[in-house]
Point group: C2
Chain length 343, copies 2
DNA sequence: CTGAAAGCGCTAACAA
DNA sequence: TTGTTAGCGCTTTCAG
């Protein structure tokens, strides 16, 4: 029955009680002021706000969350895979999500996962999954637990979950169509990591464009990579040194496309005269260099921001208003392609 | 005096009480099991662990933190400035910190800040500040609040705070010394964003090396940039087109160094015959391309990981054992430099 | 080795 | 408008 020893008052953290006492009101009133609940007399509000400032009081988030049962922590789950993580895409994503979280006063928890083991989602108000690679189980668990979740950059057909992705297939198709419109028939494709939906869909779009235009798909024109510059380089070398080289190539990322350009130049080829190149991303890097890179622009930042907004909505509304959004990707024409004039 | 309505038991969250009941022990015992406190009878431990699994019980972090007063949340503060954020460095940092946090079971809170307004540090157990640019006030506040903090990539002389940084000046100096050793006298420097300590120190190292070797500093050989490829490009153009061009250049980042290489090639120059180049970072991108980039390797991942460990130590020990660490940066010689043989 | 119970700091009924 | 008070779910004495 004995009381726990009270801490020496010297290092006691100031709590709502202290604020209440020195303001001469009840803790309830202080709480109301903190939560900006209107029903507080002006004079009291001011008084409380002042002592809050004086005492440098900051309410304990943990107590708040315990009491309300609400958490405003948003987790962002990103696969740790090198090819995926070290990309323009990942940075844009982090930046977009991070910025929107700051704006909405949400705390951003970052989870770099290798998809092994269950994700710790204790105390998390909502989760943004980016790029479901092998961690579908984690997604399903989060759903089963009833944690508001949204998937980004991966269109989920078969699960009741909000997702927001880019129309990768459509973007790829328009890129290849553009090349075809320019008269190219020998069009190669350097893919990204086919484990990612984005890369798979871009390949699909490439295929579709060829098919619709009755151009036969050539297996030797498709080069699979993991999005890395190294693999882009070897693909480019094969492509260019081929005995029957393609006259145009659609590359699954700008970073790789730039590498292809570099290789071409090293091998004495001229861009776009000898080889037309289209990338994907609209990475600002593509603007530099002597030849602006024609590419497919994907609204990454917008996607990231929308995902936070959507998640926030899910958290607040607590209802099952799932949305599946596909954002369009748009061809940006610069100087890296030329009409095919050859025989 | 009336009781608050209890939630309908249907959607009640399982708590430690439920586990205690179905296990037939007290909540104290359950708590002991959760916290791996040895004094629990084996049979009870097993029983509890089983019901935890059965019920899929996960203790509420908020309740835990409220009760213990401890938080295992670590915040990483990164400036939102474009040049800094979109860099090899930032990604490595996030990855290193993120990985170590996962390993130490710390929650990583990401703060992308523009240094305006006070940082929300409510409920945070410790803070890692990366690159103090304009947000010194935030650092000082965190220190004043007694929140364990460590600064990364910025050596703080004048504050009682742990920091861990790279010996940028030393790295730069050895890079330039190498160039001098190769016989170069006309050595240019393309700086990074001089607002960052790293860039300033690299410039300092460049200066020091020249001085020590009695080479006069030429202002027209120093090109200031914001780390962007765009500015690297224009610097490179000026550099190469100069009427009295340098024969070697030390560039403050690999990304920019690669851009310089590209420009040189476009302008018909040969690397390393016409221009020797040293970068900084040891960015894997430097390995591709026909000429491997000689560069200064900085142990970014290690720095990031160490910072988390140090912070964790500060949090646990709660004592003022601050450390200031300067990690060495090491020259990595590849093919982008050549002895100067000219007149 | 175990259980009872006092907090941790806050929110939200409810009563006034 | 305001104050009182019962929890939120857990940790941690203290007394068995």
């Amino acid at each position: 029955m004995t009381r726990r020893n009270k801490k020496p008052s010297s290092e006691k953290n100031i709590s709502i009680v202290d604020v209440a006492k020195t303001s001469g009101v009840s803790i309830a009133t202080v709480s109301r002021v903190i939560n900006k609940i209107g029903t507080v007399k002006e004079s009291n509000r001011i008084k409380v706000n002042n002592t809050i400032k004086d005492l440098k009081f900051q309410p304990s988030v943990f107590a708040q969350r315990l009491a309300t049962g609400k958490s405003n922590v948003v987790a962002l789950v990103i696969p740790r895979y090198e090819g995926v993580f070290y990309s323009f895409y990942a940075l844009e994503l982090i930046r977009g999500v991070g910025t929107m979280c700051e704006a909405l006063k949400l705390d951003l928890l970052l989870h770099l996962t290798d998809a092994h083991g269950p994700l710790s989602m204790r105390g998390v108000g909502g989760i943004i999954f980016s790029d479901i690679i092998g961690n579908r189980a984690q997604l399903e668990e989060s759903l089963a637990r009833g944690i508001p979740s949204v998937v980004i950059n991966y269109y989920v057909d078969d699960l009741d979950v909000s997702c927001i992705a880019i129309d990768n297939a459509g973007g790829a198709e328009s890129a290849v169509n553009y090349l075809i419109g320019l008269g190219h028939k020998k069009i190669a494709h350097i893919t990204g990591d086919i484990m990612t939906q984005a890369a798979a869909k871009r390949l699909e779009g490439y295929r579709r464009a060829l098919e619709k235009n009755n151009i036969k798909l050539r297996k030797d024109y498709i080069f699979e990579t993991d999005y890395s510059r190294g693999q882009a380089r070897s693909a480019a070398e094969k492509l260019i040194k081929s005995s029957d080289p393609a006259t145009a190539v659609f590359v699954a990322s700008d970073a790789m496309a730039l590498e292809v350009m570099a290789v071409a130049r090293e091998l004495g080829k001229n861009i776009p005269d000898d080889l037309s190149i289209v990338g994907f991303d609209d990475n600002p890097s593509g603007l530099y260099g002597p030849v602006g890179l024609t590419t497919v622009r994907q609204p990454l930042i917008r996607m990231a921001e929308e995902s936070v907004k959507e998640l926030n909505r899910l958290i607040l509304l607590k209802k099952n208003s799932l949305k599946k959004i596909l954002l369009p990707a748009e061809l940006v024409i610069r100087e890296s392609c030329k009409p095919f004039t050859g025989g």
